[in-house]
Symmetry: C2
């Protein structure tokens, strides 16, 4: 059996960033918290908390924290049926639900659904951002309970719902187009014109080129891991990049941005995968995610 | 002596994400690239490239890639003085400069300076985002050549310039205020009302509370690692958080957001630190960063 008081101490140190604050939340002394954490670390033979300002979880510590989040969620459900289980005078710990979304979904439609969900309950959300091709890994490793992902195939132990597709336009400023594509968007020009790439996981620019020109091109690129930064960078003439339709519609209409190849869109189908363990507790979130996606995304290609 | 052709192959595999694309860029066969990378890995006794889709750098591989970026930058300067050194018919490799900035600077003022710099030269930028208290670490470890940081003390081997301060307002929606702070922004109410926290490194909400109420409070919080997400989350009534003045000015004027405590601002002083090794090559970027900061930031407190 896991030493739950010690595990809760680890989770609180990580959540609050310090042993002192965790102690205040538990209403014990900092040295009591320190002792609980240390004992658990000695039993495991592994460091769980990286001492620093703030204190953070090691990789093993992260696993324990996620476990504690999931256990809290299950406890909540249980105590609704067996209220006698808990001391009615003790404060009920708030549940933090870890979910993963891609940055472009968060920057366009996802947050509206998440915010609406938080207003209907007192759960807290830990929103993890990763590439749509990689959020499924977070779910697979049990680090999150649900994810917006490009993966259609259900992850083991998960339910999947199709959300529609996020539409992208390859965009740049008119000035950038004049400077780098005076003779049109050719393979030679693309091999010279700086692109914007979110990070190493971002294949959207390459996917668009392959679909539009039918071949691969090694792109010179700026690295800019920010959804809004992509739009701002394109507006400022820094590079061209794939931007979600929602964020560039106004700029395209006003002529501040133009499409590299008019009408050459890229639609990225997205799916909502939820751990079966948490599907009931996340039913309201799932409903809101699906409804918002239906309004904001396009039908899948 | 480092095996530079092999090191360059590693850098290109990481940059393009695949052995095939690196081979195309080097005009050799993929198996030649694979052999160069493997030989270097064997000599080092360490994996440099994580084979996958895309191929990415391991931590040791990252070090090598940064080294290659820095060497390219120095080569550029040298060949300006000794043009005979390089084969005039070979394409000149583009230089990628790694620089670090905090997300809120990127989301408000920094990108304008970066974009202006890229238009005056053909260098590419690799913009790394981290908390303003942690960007200095990237510089210290030689992973970037320059950084926007809250650290005033010069890092070894770096020049430092004061930029001014980024002003923050503690903001929430009027609806959120009515729901969570009907009796005012008290310590008890703050211990119940969900805050927004960027990530574990983000101490701004705590700093603001300490300065405003003179004490520490353990905050229930949503985790939301996105500058624009913070504004959107506040607007949607998800939580309260510290938002840069530039991003909420319009919302405050229109009453879509309100300050938790009117006039209780938090100014975060920022500094530009540049590696002396690259100070000359980055002189134009430094000039633009300082000029933009002067326009957009407030005088330090």
């Amino acid at each position: 059996m896991i030493d739950y008081p010690a595990a809760r101490a680890v989770a609180l140190v990580v959540q609050t960033g310090s042993f002192e604050k965790a102690a205040a939340a538990l209403n014990v002394t900092p040295s009591a918290v320190s002792q609980r954490v240390k004992q658990l670390e000695e039993r495991l033979g592994a460091v769980l908390v990286e001492r620093g300002i703030p204190c953070t979880a090691t990789e093993k510590g992260e696993w324990l924290c996620r476990h504690m989040d999931h256990v809290s969620l299950l406890e909540r459900e249980l105590t609704a049926h067996l209220p006698g289980l808990v001391d009615p005078t003790a404060p009920v710990p708030r549940v933090t639900l870890a979910i993963a979304a891609n940055a472009d979904s968060l920057g366009t439609w996802f947050l509206a659904a998440a915010a609406a969900f938080t207003q209907g309950c007192d759960h807290l959300l830990n929103i993890v951002i990763d590439d749509q091709d990689h959020t499924a890994d977070w779910l697979r490793r049990g680090r999150v309970l649900a994810a917006v992902t490009s993966l259609e195939k259900p992850i083991q132990g998960c339910r999947v719902t199709a959300l529609g597709a996020l539409r992208y336009h390859a965009t740049a400023s008119p000035d950038f187009m004049a400077r780098h594509f005076p003779g049109g968007v050719t393979a030679d020009a693309l091999a010279q014109a700086p692109a914007l790439t979110f990070n190493q996981k971002d294949r959207l620019q390459h996917d668009w080129i392959r679909r539009t020109l039918g071949r691969d091109i090694v792109l010179p690129t700026h690295w800019l891991p920010s959804t809004q930064g992509f739009v701002d960078g394109a507006l400022a003439g820094m590079g061209w990049g794939m931007n979600p339709a929602q964020l560039v519609r106004g700029h395209l209409e006003a002529g501040r941005l133009v499409e590299l190849v008019p009408g050459a869109i890229l639609d990225v189908p997205l799916f909502w995968q939820v751990s079966r363990l948490a599907a009931d507790q996340l039913a309201d979130l799932s409903r809101r995610v699906v409804a918002t996606a239906k309004r904001e995304l396009v039908p899948p290609p």
